[in-house]
């Protein structure tokens, strides 16, 4: 029997491209239906995301969050685990960052606070993922169910903590006090401008660099360490993992800890990099969007960077679009984002089988 193969470029480039085009075509129909010109709208969207320095900054700032959550989903997925709890892990990770900053910003310099905050994010995010991981590995509770439930628990917990314990006295808004400036993760435009590079004001901060470092680390971890080897074995063939003497429970737990830690880094970007205070709902759905990012990026760090930038562009270009064409409300922009998620995530297999079949038949013929 000949073992026909689908060319790599088909699965990593052509199919995602077709999925996105499909999403844009349907989005175009939606925009036509509300009486606007889709081409013009696309123009605003692309200009808004990539057309000027600040736009690019915003796009990359959104992408930073999505890289973290996308990596989180992909690490778990490589181990055969579907971590839906990125949202909650990111939320609790933010708590870790916030507590470190609130505790140390009066006494410690930035270079002490930064590593501790990063550790805080990882430990809190991982800790939040540990309970579902333990329940899956040792008790057989399904991780999809438990991680979803832990999102709700995280949300309620944060409301309780911020409103009752962390809110600044004499303030109406449910925020903690603003951190002292030595606990602010530096903006990239502030770092680069002394070097003579002007990139325009945007929330893009050093967390973006952390995200890129995480991509390299995840890549090395998955494909160049025995730990990643065990995780991938477990994810693709659990029977072979048992044959190989891999402690599946242990690997499951570690996989989820790393996944949760990565999701927790959203807190570094949002809390330490942009908001400079602990607040409600800063995760804004990045945890869920991370699932689509990971799927679209084929669970590979490079794919995740590209997919995260695409989604970041949709966030940023979308708000620009809603601003320029008032009839296209923010809700319509959410519809467009939803369509991209739908076609690249949920309907991923719509074209896949047919296109792969086509290339397999061609290879056989």
């Amino acid at each position: 029997m000949s073992q026909a193969k689908v060319p790599t470029w088909v699965s990593v480039a052509l199919i995602p491209f077709l999925n996105i085009m499909m999403a844009f075509i349907v989005s175009g129909l939606v925009i036509l239906a509300i009486g606007e010109n889709p081409i013009e709208a696309a123009g605003y969207l692309i200009y808004g995301a990539f057309g000027y320095d600040e736009g690019v900054g915003y796009t990359l700032y959104y992408a930073t969050n999505l890289i973290f959550t996308g990596l989180a989903v992909s690490v778990a997925f490589k181990g055969g685990l579907f971590n839906i709890g990125g949202e909650g892990q990111a939320y609790i990770g933010g708590l870790g960052v916030g507590l470190v900053c609130l505790a140390l910003d009066h006494t410690m310099p930035l270079y002490v606070i930064v590593p501790l905050a990063i550790i805080g994010a990882a430990v809190f995010g991982a800790g939040w993922a540990y309970i579902p991981a333990y329940l899956q590995a040792r008790r057989g509770s399904h991780i999809v169910i438990t991680t979803i439930m832990f999102n709700f628990i995280a949300s309620s917990l944060m409301v309780y903590l911020i409103v009752n314990w962390l809110k600044e006295d004499g303030r109406m808004a449910p925020n903690s006090r603003t951190f002292e400036e030595n606990a602010w993760l530096p903006y990239l435009h502030k770092i680069l401008s002394p070097l003579g590079i002007e990139i325009g004001d945007s929330p893009l901060n050093l967390a973006f660099v952390l995200a890129l470092i995480c991509c390299v680390l995840v890549w090395a971890l998955l494909w160049h360490t025995r730990w990643g080897y065990q995780l991938r074995t477990l994810g693709t063939n659990p029977t072979a993992a048992r044959y190989a003497g891999i402690d599946t429970a242990k690997v499951t737990i570690w996989g989820m800890l790393i996944s949760g830690g990565l999701a927790g880094f959203v807190g570094v970007n949002e809390i330490m990099g942009v908001n400079h205070s602990l607040l409600l709902n800063f995760t804004a759905g990045y945890g869920f969007a991370g699932i689509a990012v990971s799927l679209m990026g084929r669970n590979h760090p490079i794919g995740i960077i590209l997919a995260a930038i695409l989604f970041g562009a949709l966030y940023q270009g979308g708000s620009e679009l809603a601003f320029e064409i008032p009839t296209i409300t923010p809700e319509i922009v959410i519809v467009i984002q939803g369509l991209v998620i739908l076609f690249s995530g949920a309907l991923e297999h719509m074209f896949k089988d047919r296109i792969e079949g086509f290339f397999i038949r061609r290879a056989v013929a």
Partner: protein
Amino acid sequence: MGVPFKADELFLDMTNKTMPYAIELRDISKRFGAVQANKDICLQIPAGTIHGIIGENGAGKSTLMSIIYGFYEADTGYIEVDGKRVDIRSSQDAINAGIGMVHQHFMLVENFSVLENVILGAEGGTLLKGGINTARVELQRLAQEYSLDIDVDAIVEELPVGLQQRVEILKALYRGARILILDEPTGVLTPQEADHLFRILKALKEQGVTVLLITHKLREIMASTDNVSVMRQGQMVADRETVKTNKEELAELMVGKKVRLTVDKDDAEPSQVLLSARNLSQFDEQGVKRLKNINLELRAGEIVGIAGVSGNGQSELLNVLSGIEPMSEGEIHIADQVITSKNPKDAAQMRDLKMAHVPEDRHKMGLVTGFEAYEAAVLGYHNSKTYNGKILMHRKVMIDECNERMAAWDVRPPNPHLKTANFSGGNQQKIVIAREVEQNPDILLIGQPTRGVDIGAIENIHEQIVKLRDAGKAILLVSVELDEIMALSDRIIVMFDGAIVGELDAKDADERTLGLMMANAYNEEKEGESA
């Protein structure tokens, strides 16, 4: 022997009877990819008889039954029921044609009552009440007619397995089945429950129901059927009237005679015991005993072959010995270690005791088909110092070693970066065997070493196994190929139903003796002779 009979010739005397066949298969063929699961199957089953279909696991019995029951569609051929051609595309079509099936693994909703299970899919209306009342009356009638007593309001999961099976039979009858297929019905039953089942089948037969009994147990065929058909490698190789055949003939037909393999080897010189298993038992999740008090010794410098129809505990034995599955009772002595259920060792720890294991199923267990060849070539040894630095794995070492082994074992194509799935079966097997043998183990467990491997590669693999023996290693060989067992082994152990039922020197083994032992009929026959 082994020549396919034309079913027409065999049942010549029966064609005089006026009754048409309850079910007739005409030239049924089914192919899955490269595997021809069924080839030109013809079968005629007279109404009101119990017809056995016997064959080894993988002979194509289940595929054939799935075709009759509408799970698969045949590529060619057709089915006639009561002399009329029927088109069965789904299980609903099969039910409409009067065919019912009792699966090996029951299709019951465990927390429903018997009554609810029986009407499932045949509720007869939006509201359950009407259907339930009708069913209650009908079930009483069926229970009386076929002596299938059961408490219809009992919850299924609270019933013993034998009664759960009875629910399955009632389900089929309630749907008007006149032809009942039972797939390995006694696999989950105690001997008493099995006897009871056969009494029920006889009662069904007396009421005119046609029964198709799928099994690989010869005793059941001889005890309960009117006619028997033998399947081997996807083909129907013989039809017999049960009274005119015997276990011995059926066993030979099942296993078949093949071209004799020869392996050049000197006499074994077994020395010290490297592994001994004492009273080893294993229960599965349902509490069924899959391994029964196995006592076994492996000595340095010998090949011990385990013969048996597959599914008789060989896989469980390999898995328990290699640490993949826990044992329930007994001890394994290896080196100076004693392994018990309280002091278990996992597969990695067994490897540390210099035991290597070539699993029976390379796809499910031996390889990760999504991995590149060089990655699959370290599976199980991935923690070894050879392949690891402090943090990163030494990819170059792994790839270089993979290249060397591919050359030494003639793996084609010799490309360490090719996905494991894209090698042919024989080459995949070489990757697995090379991985295990090159570790230079003291003990090698090897399951189905040449399944799906071409002739040239078989010779190579056999040579390597003998070479390992001559180097003073202990080898446990499990194979469903009798030829392979006889050609390679120095000592042969026969397993049946989870227990060791015979042991003999390879020099004294012949196919007839082994075949009888595999069917657990050897001792009975000897008793018969002496009586």
